[in-house]
Amino acid sequence: MATAEKTPVLSVEHLTMRFGGLTAVSDLTFDAFPREITALIGPNGAGKTTVFNCITGFYKPTEGSITLHHGDGRSFMLERMDDFRIAQHAKVARTFQNIRLFSGMTLLENLMVAQHNTLMVASGYTLGGVFGSGNFRRAEKAAIERAKDWLEKVRLIDRADDPAGDLPYGDQRRLEIARAMCTSPRLLCLDEPAAGLNPRESEELNKLLRAIRSENDISILLIEHDMSVVMGISDHVVVLDYGQKISDGDPAHVKSDPAVIRAYLGVDDEDEDALAAEAIAEAVGEKS
């Protein structure tokens, strides 16, 4: 791999997550690199969202470590941090499979909430803000500018003062990405960003993600079922099946990997017969 020389933004090592007797993710190791899009794919129930929830702190992994490196040498052990601290300090932002916008708040307000921590400091933890300190007013103006900037990028600026719940589905997806980007993340985790989008919208999404990758010092990790998105934009693909990594590499490599084809398309009838014959032979062999 060409990326082997770079320092990864995210390194997941021997990640295992068990729910009671069920092992959702077992011994998963992979890296995500700066200014790259890493796709996490796999059949339904392969454990992709569980990996996301471990990285963003919504689950505490049973075993293994997840480390996030900032370019300046700081690194964070995500498996030991609370979910909101991961977002606040380690700068990991995420979107959700079933969109979670603040539907009763306007688009602009949604993006202002995303800048909560910056504004909180600027408002002197509310005290300065109550008395209208200049510092806070400047910070608020900057936050509105930043929100405007992102609304323009996702082409929702005309609807800035409408409630988020009023947007059509595809726009809500884009707004959620804009909201995540307003937290200035180092790692952006997108959980099925193209789900429910029509081909034109997912082409637009590809463009947006490419733009985000090239304009920001950021690594994007995405879960996706839409292969046109995965193959079209990702630099690196990790394939999961039953919680285990079965393939890892660039899209072309993964596409032709027999293990991936087997996981997605099932085993051919002939192969299955052969496997069954092998199994019978083994069983017979053990007896005799």
């Binding site: 919504f58 979670r100 916008l101 009763g104 602009l108 202002m112 909560h116 109550v130 409408d162 409630p163």
Partner: protein
Amino acid sequence: MAAQDLSPRKSGGYDWPAIIKDLIVTSIVTLLILVPIVAYKSVITQYSLTLEPRWTLVFTILAVILATRLFMYLFVWTRAPGDALSGKTSSAQRAKAGFTDKLGPWVFPALVAFAFLLPIITGGDRRSIDLGIYILTYVMLGWGLNIVVGLAGLLDLGYVAFYAVGAYAYALLSTVYLPQWFGTGVLPWAFYITLPLAGLLAASWGVILGFPVLRLRGDYLAIVTLAFGEIIRLVLINWFSFTNGPQGINVPKATFFGLPFKAGDGGFADFFGIEHNRIQYYIFLYYVILALALLTYFVTNRLRRLPIGRAWEALREDEIACRSLGINTTNTKLTAFAIGAMFGGFAGSFFAARQGFVSPESFVFIESAIILAIVVLGGLGSQIGIVFAAIAIMGSFELFRELSVFRDYLPAGTDTVHFRMLAVGLAMVLMMRFRPRGFVTRRQPTVFLKERKAVSSDLVKEGHG
């Protein structure tokens, strides 16, 4: 009997067959209900139990019901069927919304101006000033609870606990601790010293309540807050050596910045060279609670526009999304509890000064329920709505006191004051039917680029607790 479905109006005229059919059905249902309940009254005479027929009453009630229904058909339910689906209604609704939006900015200043002038308008009438104090206290409590329930979406059934903390803070500090610590010279200023302390104490109790309930949601949160309210009350009753138990504490009156309201030298009237009148104290109290309520209003309004307020509302909308954006939801909930409790504490301190006496009896669960009813009736998160709800509920309580003029028509021994809870019940039922989200349902955004468009209540969530 869904009246609208019966299509009473066919392109201009009334659909008389449908109306008559409905009136016949109505008569049958009414008679079915009335005959067993009203038609015969059991009368115990000296020797036997007899039935006294009351058919006139039955038919009077029936006539009233039919007349009302006919009136509704002719003048109210005139909407032709299918309107609900066509664009007509929505454009009408939009026009109506535009009208209220235009009126919106004037409502609050008008209310404040009216509140300021009330003692002058009524010419210093003791009863109306008392009622004003009473309503304003509940407006303030409603605004305080609105932070917790309306903005942060956390259902708090024990809000009266903070009111109690504020009231006892004033009572105990002014009678026991301030004289003990600073000597009696400080007493004229007791109210002004205690007010911020009461707020602080209540806020810290808010945090103390907040901690154990952080992980709870919905029903569980409601029950724990309910229990907290009861615990405070029971402690006040049982910790005799500290709170004087159920006998309560007499507290000194507030002063006008050190000038007591009394006849003779050194009093308020003497200082300003006017004649002493007891009403001066009540007018003073009225303006104190008005100032406190306005403080609550403006601080809350300011907080809504700060990151903390947006975080409260975001928390109500979606807690998980908040955490994914790096918002410390623990602190956010605690600040909501603390600031809501602080205003409750201020109000409690004022209450103690007004009553001149505190006892645990004033802080029963029904008080929490009334404050919550005001917030819900006003519309969660809406400050103006709460004013109207407080006027409606507290005003109707007073109205029932006045209803004693009907005493002659009611069975002997009926005290109309006992009907006041019926008023709250009726208000709630009517509200659920006609305005399920309260008087004011539209949310005003805290920040905007081009124009401030109110958010419809369909999109605003009510919170998970």
